[in-house]
């Protein structure tokens, strides 16, 4: 009998998307079980249901043969289930010990927190698992790897024997990953059971006993790790190609519009570079797609190219001139258009009207002595809402529109002006087929008009359909830069995305050692 058995788990999200569709998932006592799948496959949703952060719409959970109802993390903790989130839930100003005992502090005289008792008990847990953190240190002084140890100790302190780790390696260096795996093995020796969510197949092979593959809210396969190859897992994850109807006429590329030369981005307190010597060129009349799994630097690439984040080193050139350090406003004057991945916080202001959203990048064109020309603006907004067939009209707050229409407002604004460089990130994420088709047509129009397009996306089907050149990022590095020729398969790109292939590995290693 399995230790944990989740049966027929179904979770519907408000837009009728089945995040989990009748999922059966089971876990043996004392195993390390990996769950793999692309973004949006439903891995995190399933784990949130197990940890009580979400409630399933259908299905049942049985732990050690007994049916359980998990209404929240406290229920889960009581049942011995713990979770280490991808984004740590720690209070930086508190000490390690204070963070660990938060909510279940040992008391002195029923009233005061017994700090010494807390530190002593935590020291025991830390010593028995070979962790390297000082319980009295403040969390803000720790490295990312140590913070993760604190999260794990926090769960062990609560006597958890089923530990869920949500993408635990995405923020760690190779050495830290190695340490984490040592810890997981030691936990397994002590009788604990672990679930590890990851995108990285190398890690699956290294640490797990069994692996469950998920795709589009369903379990595709469950395998013993020893009996499966990385190539097979990769195929199971990406699935069969979907045919896209994108007419992409051939045209000759012009001169370089955007060039990135050894662009590196580091964050304080993190040893791993978010962007590691990224070199990439976008020419006019060319669509360069950058593919990758989230957490591998796509978001950071988007930020640095659009001037929203300063790079640590390297050069970014626009039409041959260095633009690193320029403000978003200056970049827009230079002819940048930018459709961000985060359309609800960055790409639009939900409380503002459609009109107010549309003029934010072109407001300079509607000025008379510091005042806005109301009539001109009205005509402009009416023309755009009509030509992009945006429901609701120009006067309603953007927040009242559907996701597809919000994206149309952003596209209308960004593609309305004459741009020589278009940066789009996950432009069809969450859109239906017709809306996606519309987005592709607009982007191809911009390409035809001579713009260079940087197309950041994790959707391989659309990348293969629309791009002239495909680059792949893995752990902040460009690992492939290939022309999109008919022979290029989704499986091959998938292997680059998952870290199985790397065209630039030796050169990348040399660059790291060379002086900057």
């Amino acid at each position: 009998m399995p230790y944990l058995e989740m049966k027929g788990i179904t979770k519907l999200y408000p837009n009728h998307m089945r995040a989990n569709d009748a999922i059966d998932f089971s876990l043996e006592k004392n195993e390390i079980h990996a769950i793999v799948g692309e973004n949006g496959a439903g891995k995190s949703t399933l784990m949130k249901i197990l940890y009580g952060l979400e409630q399933a719409d259908a299905g049942s959970i049985a732990l050690a043969g007994r049916t359980v109802h998990i209404r929240g993390p406290l229920d889960a903790n009581r049942l011995g289930i713990g979770m280490v989130h991808q984004h740590f839930k720690l209070i930086p100003e508190f000490s390690v010990a204070e963070n660990i005992v938060l909510g279940i502090e040992p008391r002195k005289n029923l009233l005061f927190v017994d700090r010494n008792a807390a530190v002593q008990r935590i020291s025991e847990v830390i010593a028995s698992h070979g962790f390297s953190v000082d319980p009295r240190a403040r969390v803000m002084t720790l490295t990312v790897g140590q913070m993760q140890q604190v999260e794990i100790v926090k769960m062990l302190y609560r006597n958890v024997d089923l530990l869920i780790l949500d993408e635990p390696t995405s923020v760690l260096t190779e050495q830290e990953i190695h340490r984490l795996f040592e810890t997981l093995r030691s936990l397994r020796r002590d009788g604990a059971t672990c679930i590890i969510i990851t995108h990285k197949l190398q890690e699956v092979m290294e640490i797990s006993d069994r692996v469950t593959v998920m795709r589009k809210g369903k379990v595709i396969a469950v395998r013993r790790t020893a009996e499966v190859t990385k190539a097979e897992l990769s195929r199971l994850m990406v699935g069969r190609s979907v045919l896209f109807q994108i007419e992409r006429p051939k045209n000759a590329c012009g001169s370089a519009v955007l060039e990135l030369v050894n662009v590196t981005l580091k964050q304080r307190g993190r040893d791993r570079a978010l962007l590691d010597a990224v070199t990439l060129t976008v020419r006019s009349c060319e669509i360069v797609a950058v593919a990758g799994v989230s957490g591998n630097g796509l978001g950071e690439l988007e930020d640095v190219v659009t001037g929203l984040r300063r790079i640590t080193s390297g050069r970014i050139l626009h039409n041959g001139e260095d633009i690193a350090g320029l403000t978003p406003a200056t970049l827009r004057e230079r002819g940048f258009a930018y459709v961000p991945a985060d359309r609800l916080r960055r790409g639009s202001s939900l409380k503002s009207t459609v009109t107010e959203n549309m003029i934010v990048t072109s407001r300079h064109r509607f000025l008379r002595a510091g005042f806005l020309k109301g009539k001109k603006i009205r005509q402009f907004a009416e023309r755009l809402t009509e030509s992009f067939s945006i429901d609701g009209g120009p006067r309603v707050p953007v927040g009242t529109l559907s996701g597809g229409n919000i994206q149309k407002v952003i596209l209308a604004r960004e593609l309305a002006s004459d741009s020589n460089l278009v940066i789009v990130s996950e432009p069809t994420w969450g859109l239906d087929v017709a809306s996606s088709q519309f987005v592709y047509e607009k982007i191809l129009e911009m390409r035809k008009a001579g713009a260079g397009v940087l197309f950041i996306s994790s959707n391989l089907d659309e990348i293969l359909g629309i791009a002239d050149t495909i680059a792949v990022m893995y752990r902040g590095r460009i690992v492939a830069n290939l022309p999109n020729l008919p022979g290029l398969s989704k499986e091959r790109i998938g292997e680059y995305m998952l870290g199985l292939r790397d065209d630039f590995a030796p050169a990348g290693a040399q660059r790291k050692d060379a002086p900057a």
Partner: protein, 348 residues
């Protein structure tokens, strides 16, 4: 179209407000029935007293004038999602600056002298509030806290000038020397204290309305207030709109203080701005931060104030009871308004 929407918001805002007011008025009626031996007479003066003669009416309108300025000052900052809690000190400093300019130029032309006095008030208070904006921009210091603390210090500094260098030794009142009579604003509703500063208040509200809804800076400021990440993305200088609204807010408070000196007091009297910063916040919240809504909101506040005074003079209730009745209404209105304040803040 934008202003049509904002007027629409105002109307829906007022239906909710009307309910709140009715409820609190009901409580005041109960309170007065319990505490007054002549409840009918007390109620009459509390609710109708302000309209019984031109003296009360004019004074009520005069009380509304600085409330319009403080309400505008808060509203403008709110539009950019920055918060100025230093209104009291800024009004006080504005009053002192206006007084000092008038005293320094005793022979000047009344019109030009008065204008320079107001300019001095706006500049000084704008600078004081601007400091909090700069701190927010440079080190992300909460401008709510810093403006409040700064205001506490400014009040003490102004007190020093009132009782020290600018003290009027002939006057028993703790106040500065009186400004020259030619600087005073002319009365428009004698014998009440209402004076031409009322026109300044109307003009300021109109100007601010056009600034907020029609100008480019107003648009950029509102976008920053509604979504700072979006504004940065759109190429708006978001740092600028942490400082500019604070300066503008401070300047409006300063003008309010300066006009009170020129129109009503003719000197800076100790403590004249006491509590006015908070009243400005309440006015702005009732007005839903719409510059045109500030006028009726300020009138409502002034009306309650005048009613309490009239009831006190003409019936058996004491100052304390009148104040309690008044604060009933304030509590209700601000509780409602604070609810929306927390929503604005969590958004920003």
């Amino acid at each position: 179209m934008k202003e049509r929407r904002s007027l629409g918001e105002l109307v829906t805002g007022f239906t909710g407000l009307a309910l709140t007011l009715l409820l609190s008025f009901g409580l005041v009626v109960v309170l007065i029935f319990v505490l007054s031996r002549t409840p009918a007479r007390t109620l009459y003066f509390f609710f109708v007293g302000a309209f019984t003669n031109s003296y009360y009416l004019g004074n009520m309108l005069n009380v509304a004038v600085p409330l319009v300025f403080t309400g505008l000052g808060i509203s403008v900052a709110f539009k950019a999602a920055v918060f100025n809690l230093g209104g009291e000190g800024q009004i006080y400093a504005g009053g002192l600056a206006a007084t000092a300019v008038c005293l320094a130029l005793p022979a000047a032309n009344g019109f030009l002298g008065g204008l320079s006095a107001l300019a001095g008030a706006a500049v000084l208070s704008g600078a004081i509030a601007g400091v909090s904006g700069l701190l927010r921009m440079k080190w992300n210091t909460d401008e709510m806290i810093s403006s409040f603390l700064l205001s506490v210090a400014v009040v003490l500094v102004v007190n020093y000038f009132i009782t020290g260098p600018l003290d009027d030794p002939k006057n028993n009142l703790q106040s500065t020397l009186a400004i020259g009579a030619h600087y005073g604003l002319s009365g428009i509703f004698p014998p009440s204290k209402l004076n031409s500063s009322a026109f300044f208040a109307l003009a300021a509200a109109l100007l601010m309305f056009f600034f907020v809804y029609k100008s480019r800076a107003g648009y950029e400021m509102r976008m920053c207030g509604q979504n700072r990440e979006f504004s940065r993305y759109g190429g708006i200088n978001v740092s600028k709109y942490l400082v500019l609204p604070m300066i503008l807010s401070g300047a409006l408070h300063g003008l309010g203080g300066g006009l009170m000196v020129l129109g009503t007091y003719r000197a800076t009297i100790e403590g004249f701005s006491f509590g006015m910063g908070w009243n400005g916040i309440a006015v702005a919240l009732i007005a839903k931060n719409n510059p045109l809504g500030v006028i009726p909101a300020a009138l409502l506040f002034a009306y309650l104030d005048a009613g309490a005074k009239a009831a006190m003079i003409n019936s058996d209730i004491t100052f304390e009871i009148a104040a309690i009745a008044q604060s009933f209404i304030f509590y209700f209105v601000t509780a409602r308004a604070l609810y929306s304040l927390t929503r604005i803040r969590s958004r920003a």
